[in-house]
């Protein structure tokens, strides 16, 4: 990653224009050509430096259910439970964390009322309780990351 990549990542975190030639408009502001910007974005996505580029949807606004949930799973049972939990298509991200609650995952359902159903299904499939941590209030979402 070089200085141009940094300029692109910092410059394109929000506010990408909606117009006929948005890359041309943005490239001009960043001191690049349209072709150069498109090419660089392609490489940054290919290399995984960027996980995405484009419109980002606000899940609650489209009527979906979303929550964070955690489980306490003994080490000897962890691999089995990982497999069972990951098999649910509603489980979007799942992380192992260094805590008594050692598995944390994000549940995304098409409708809000399905969150409870999926949690109950995971509990019955794995035999362990699922702790639900729904977002009760959002204070700030810092979308910018300086690189």
């Amino acid at each position: 990653m070089d200085e141009v990549d940094r300029v692109i990542i910092n410059g394109l975190q929000e506010g990408f224009p909606i117009c006929e030639r948005p890359y041309a408009a943005t490239a001009q502001q960043l001191g690049l050509t349209e072709a150069e910007l498109i090419d660089r974005l392609g490489h940054l996505l290919e290399d995984g430096v960027l996980s995405r580029f484009g419109p980002l949807i606000h899940a609650e606004q489209v009527g979906g259910g979303l929550t964070l949930a955690a489980m306490q799973v003994p080490a000897e049972d962890l691999e089995r439970v990982i497999e069972q939990v990951n098999a649910f298509p509603e489980v979007a991200h799942n992380y192992e964390r260094d805590h008594v609650l050692n598995m944390w995952f994000v549940l995304a359902t098409e409708r809000p009322e399905q969150v409870g159903t999926v949690i109950a299904a995971i509990e019955s499939r794995t035999g362990y309780p699922v702790y639900n941590f729904p977002k009760e209030e959002e204070y700030f979402l810092n979308l910018r990351l300086a690189v």
């Binding site: 990653m1 990542i9 975190q13 929000e14 990408f16 909606i18 117009c19 006929e20 030639r21 890359y23 974005l41 940054l44 996505l45 290399d47 995984g48 430096v49 960027l50 996980s51 995405r52 580029f53 484009g54 419109p55 980002l56 949807i57 606000h58 899940a59 606004q61 489209v62 009527g63 979906g64 979303l66 964070l68 306490q72 990982i82 990951n86 489980v91 979007a92 991200h93 799942n94 992380y95 192992e96 964390r97 260094d98 609650l101 944390w104 995952f105 994000v106 995304a108 098409e110 702790y131 941590f133 977002k135 009760e136 209030e137 959002e138 204070y139 700030f140 979402l141 979308l143 990351l145």
Partner: protein, 180 residues
């Protein structure tokens, strides 16, 4: 941005075309000179109509933003800590706003406690190049909370077990902002 989100909070109605647009968004913005025209072709509507609808979806907060999603890890932010805090319920909104404003905090939420296992009601995600940097960030949050911090902890992820991106619909995932 919050004002925009608040004004759109009464679950906006999306028509069938809006839904087709949001599904098309999941593939990302096409990397071609006229990306909205390419997207309009996929959705099979007029490009001007598509751009107008995108503006509206953005204004209503259905689309949070149009831009890049950097991969923290690839950018050298190797230590991503979920810091959790036990603060008085009656002050959590005020304290959450203060913690959320710190520039190394990317997400800050109130979540329920699960006593006795889990006494924490305030979650703040922080990102550092290593755990020492995160330790400094935790100290800064603690200072910011002052005597209202009754207990705290930090959870580092030790393994990614699944990462498919959130699905908005039956399409390929990933377009939904991870604001859980």
């Amino acid at each position: 941005m919050n004002a925009v989100l608040d004004s759109g909070r009464e679950t906006p109605t999306l028509d069938a075309v809006d839904r087709r647009i949001l599904i098309a968004c999941q593939a990302g913005l096409p990397l071609v000179e006229r990306p909205y025209h390419a997207m309009a072709e996929t959705v099979r509507i007029d490009p001007d109509d598509l751009m107008q609808r995108l503006q509206l979806l953005l204004a209503r907060g259905v689309i949070r933003r149009i831009g890049v999603v950097p991969n923290h890890y690839k950018l050298g932010y190797r230590a991503n800590g979920m810091t959790v805090w036990d603060v008085p319920d009656e002050k959590v909104s005020e304290l959450g706003a203060r913690v959320g404003a710190l520039d190394f905090v990317s997400h800050c939420y109130r979540r329920p406690r699960h006593l006795p296992l889990w006494p924490y009601n305030l979650f703040a995600m922080v990102h550092g190049h290593d755990r020492d940097e995160v330790a400094g960030q935790i100290e800064a949050i603690r200072a910011c909370l002052g005597p209202d911090c009754r207990a705290h902890d930090v959870l580092f992820s030790t393994r990614i077990l699944k990462k498919t991106g959130l699905r908005f619909d039956k399409g390929q995932g990933g377009a939904v902002e991870r604001s859980v």
